[in-house]
Amino acid sequence: MDSLTKLWLSTGLANFEPGQVVMMLVGCGLLYLAIARNFEPLLLLPMGFGAILTNIPVAGFSEVGGLLHYIYYAGIDTGIFPLIIFMGVGAMTDFGALIANPKTLLLGAAAQFGIFATLFGAIALNYVPGIEFTLKDASAIAIIGGADGPTAIFLASKLAPDLLGAIAVAAYSYMALVPIIQPPIMRALTTEDERKIEMAQLRPVTKIEKIIFPLGVLMMTIFFLPAATPLVGMFCLGNLMREVGVVDRLSSTAQNELINITTIFLGLGVGSKLSAEAFLNVETIGILVLGAVAFSIGTASGVIMAKIMNKFSKVPINPLIGAAGVSAVPMAARVANKIGLEANPHNFLLMHAMGPNVAGVLGSAVAAGVLLALVG
């Protein structure tokens, strides 16, 4: 009987705290979004699972000696996992469309206004009782507007590890929601005629340009923003491996097995930050609201910038591609393409939107570097 009592006392039922139950439901919610709604499943599935595991009473997944504890401190606290992911993303990114039409970099720049405007919002939320965001917190939250998962996780792990869980949830959820968030904003800010604009075919880009481009980006980052070099450097390493053609086996591994392995553990590790204390508070609601605001502002500023450029440019620019400047590669570019096709069935904007789309990745890495340099 003693044994049965001991067994009962070791059950989850006898040890549950309400917060843990709620957080498990949050984890189940993330799994639902990943599986049934196809919300960024590669990260949200392990993240939701990690959220469940970390909230199991008695099991101690995130305490010293627990699996998630090791994963978090070895891979996320050190920044290693997001950097490896970023290298893999670099190895998957084709800068051809950007090099062919470099002006689109300005769209990627404009969309970062979503980040910096959200800074303001985060500070303003301090008026709400129960919310107290430092400038570091605000910066980590604002980066959600960058629409780039690894960048957000990297920055949050440096500036506000306590908010990491909520920030990652918001970042990946909104990235998945891009097809729902962006279209109304894009339609509201453009006229039917603007959406119909067809763009000139892109010039072919030579191999040498694609090889030198990541090196140029790295050099400029070194000169002007060394704080961004971990992110930009690993990204450029991946992209360089992709383009040079002499290390294809490394590039392939970076794009596949290595990024897959890291994604599983990154997801689990981020999920381990979804504890009741860290997530069940007003601040999380603030983060979710601010994330949506950041995405919307980023989308709007990208579109407006594209409208301005279209005014002054000799060749026509469809303002829709400005929305792709938030990154969320390649979803945002597909959204631009889709809305363009609705207005004009011959209007294929996908390749043109890839330019601002990958520019947005660089832009938010640069923004993250600025925040690290000034706030970190």
């Binding site: 950007l98 090099i99 470099p102 002006k103 970099l105 300005l106 990627g108 720049a109 404009a110 970062q112 206004f113 980040i115 910096f116 405007a117 800074l119 303001f120 985060a122 500070i123 303003a124 301090n126 008026y127 400038l135 605000a138 910066s139 072919p204 880009v205 030579t206 191999k207 040498i208 340009e209 030198i212 481009f213 140029g216 980006v217 400029m220 002007f224 923003l225 520019a359 660089l362 832009g363 640069v366 923004a367 600025v370 925040l371 000034l374 706030v375």
Partner: protein, 92 residues
């Protein structure tokens, strides 16, 4: 409140500095692409891939008609078969 004002000021400066920096940085990248890369593209053009000449075409179609498969394809497929067996033939 005073503290809040202070924070807003900081956030404002950050916003200004950040957006200026992002635009300057990505703007310089435009210059970089339009100058350095453009020159490089002219100096080191991609090797012109000759449109598949008759001879080439012939070899290819020959290959297909006669069922000759390039050794690399054979190797790749046999490799795939091996991988397949390795993965599925051994348990746990």
């Amino acid at each position: 409140m005073d503290n809040m004002q202070q924070q807003f000021l900081e956030a404002g400066t950050l916003m200004l500095a950040g957006m200026v920096f992002v635009f300057v940085f990505l703007g310089m990248l435009i210059v970089f692409i339009n100058t350095v890369l453009a020159k490089l593209a002219i100096k080191f053009p991609d090797p012109i891939v000759t449109p598949p000449s008759r001879a080439n075409k012939k070899r290819k179609s020959n290959g297909k008609t006669h069922g000759e498969v390039s050794p690399a394809v054979v190797a790749a497929i046999s490799g795939a078969v091996k991988r397949y067996r390795a993965k599925h033939g051994q348990d746990k």
